[in-house]
């Protein structure tokens, strides 16, 4: 009986979580353009989305920003994590609190404060400003992914390498980086997916003419969202799903390796 209640409850929660996603995916095959009625099955939207200039440019902006910002954030963030790990307790505390700030801060406050900064520094709002904003909110997530791996690291390995005559940089490259690699890759993928999904911060830090998918969807919402967007999102959702399964496999493997 208890088992049944648990199953039933779990199913209800998952129904709640997945109902809108199912609706989205189903309506990407709907031949009617309105979301109110079902007119039959079609794959047209999957073909037409590639010819829609607005959607394709939004896709390029989204992917371009996601790739660039996640790579740059991973480089800066990994270096930062190694440095922070080697700081004394007091400095570490200050830096980590500041690192948590953008993670916990309301997106709208982060977005607005970055907008004020961009205007203050006279950086024109557009692709570059969007990229700077995404790097900024991605770095803390990379640091938070890499730091736990550093804590698991055997300190003596690095010291042994130095004793054996390795330069600090050589030891970093040959000892530390390979050891924390799972954390770096998790951070990279996390940064990538966060960047793809972001709306609020992008909304305030982009300029006219440069829109990512979220911004395009938001501006469409009032007139009604084109099923082409549903088609594109279905494809992206399935891609991210695959990516996530890979990450999960990796994390499982590293966990097993730690034990």
């Amino acid at each position: 009986m208890v088992k049944f209640i648990k199953r039933f409850y779990t199913s209800l929660i998952f129904l709640f979580l997945y109902a809108p996603i199912l609706v989205l995916i189903i309506f990407s095959f709907n031949s009617s353009k309105s979301r109110g009625s079902w007119d039959g099955f079609t794959l047209n939207w999957y073909v037409e989305m590639f010819q829609d200039r607005q959607i394709m440019s939004a896709l390029y902006v989204t992917l371009g920003i996601a790739v660039l910002s996640s790579i740059i954030a991973t480089i800066i963030g990994t270096a930062a994590a190694i440095g922070i790990y080697n700081m004394n307790r007091f400095n570490k505390g200050i830096i980590m609190n500041l690192t948590y700030l953008p993670v916990l801060n309301a997106d709208i406050v982060t977005g607005i404060s970055l907008m004020l900064l961009l205007i203050f520094l006279k950086i024109p709002l557009g692709f570059t400003s969007l990229l700077l904003a995404h790097i900024t909110f991605n770095i803390p997530y990379v640091i938070l992914s890499v730091l736990p791996k550093l804590r698991q690291l055997n300190k003596h390995l690095y010291e042994a390498a130095l004793d054996l005559g390795a330069s600090p940089l050589y030891a970093l490259r040959k000892i530390i980086i390979p050891e924390i690699k799972p954390g770096i890759i998790t951070g990279l993928l996390l940064a990538f997916t966060l960047s793809i999904d972001d709306f609020v911060i992008s909304f305030f830090t982009t300029g006219s003419g440069v829109a990512n998918l979220s911004i395009t969807i938001y501006s469409m919402a009032r007139r009604g969202i084109n099923p082409k967007i549903n088609a594109l999102s279905t494809i992206m959702f399935l891609s991210v799903l695959t990516l996530l399964i890979i990450v999960n496999k990796r994390m499982d493997n590293t966990e097993e390796g730690d034990n």
Partner: protein, 274 residues
């Protein structure tokens, strides 16, 4: 290890892109332009305490509190079920909680409009049962539903991550000492899970209180919450001073909640989603 210097690029980045922007917001919230240059003012903060804006704050808090409460009520049992599963099955179930978050959240929220609108899917289903169509959309209930929907995983995951760390021996010991399951829950599971609950509450409450997209879509724009207020001041009214002052007030709220979280973080390394 003497590798501190390699964090310097980040520290420079952080000063420019995290600290400086916050100082700018603070700066705009207490200054005004005059013909002779800048002047200091607290007028923007005073204006926030006018009844109309206090009402906005009150409504945001009310909706976010109700959503957080609903998330906690729905999420705690769910986290317990997840923590109870066999390990192999468990990872998949937890993954299933994370997956919806990776579909664009605007689109997911928008899909609720398809489900809830007057000639939408839910009303069609009710129609089959001969129940007259109801207005689900554009009211407070819809906004709360949107918040619960979007933020429920942020409640479930931190509670879950604390629950699986509870030492099973404690539960067995309680049972051996004659405690029934209700007492075990009240005396052992609940107190030990408080850090996860606090973390979940913060992670649901903060985004719920500041969201401006959910009330715009599901509330039909008739509910001005604090996020909408900030957005309007910057994008439509052009009153940066007042918008900044409201942002500063939000920031103070966040710092307070960070302080509360930080207190618990010392006790359990990491905490929260990480």
């Amino acid at each position: 290890m003497k590798l501190k210097w390699i964090s310097y690029p980040y520290i420079v980045w952080m000063i420019i892109f995290i600290l400086l922007p916050l100082f700018l917001i603070l700066f705009y919230s207490v200054t005004y332009n005059t013909s002779e240059g800048l002047g200091f003012t607290l007028e923007y903060f005073q204006r926030f305490f006018e009844p109309i804006y206090i009402n906005v704050l009150w409504r945001s808090f009310k909706l976010a509190l109700v959503s957080t409460g609903v998330c906690l009520l729905l999420g705690y049992p769910m986290a317990m079920i997840l923590a109870d599963k066999e390990l192999k099955n468990r990872n998949v179930m937890v993954l299933l909680f994370i997956i919806p978050m990776w579909m664009n959240f605007l689109l997911r929220t928008y899909a609720w409009m398809t489900l809830l609108e007057r000639n939408g899917i839910l009303n069609s289903l009710l129609g089959l049962l001969n129940i007259a169509p109801k207005d689900f959309l554009y009211n407070e209930g819809a906004v709360i539903l949107g918040m619960v929907y979007n933020f429920l995983p942020f409640m479930v995951l931190p509670i879950y991550s604390v629950l699986i760390k509870i030492d099973k021996n404690l539960l067995e010991a309680a049972g051996d000492l004659g405690a029934n399951s209700a007492t075990t829950f009240r005396k052992i599971i609940l107190p030990l899970s408080i850090p996860g609950v606090l973390s979940g509450v913060t992670m649901v409450f903060m985004p719920a209180v500041t969201t401006f997209v959910i009330p715009r879509l599901l509330g039909g724009g008739q509910f001005t919450l604090i996020g909408n207020l900030i957005e309007q001041q910057f994008l439509f009214v052009g009153d940066w001073g007042f918008g900044s002052a409201v942002s500063v007030i939000m920031l103070i709220l966040i710092l307070i909640s960070m302080g509360v979280m930080g207190k618990y973080e010392k006790e359990q390394e990491g905490g929260g989603l990480w």
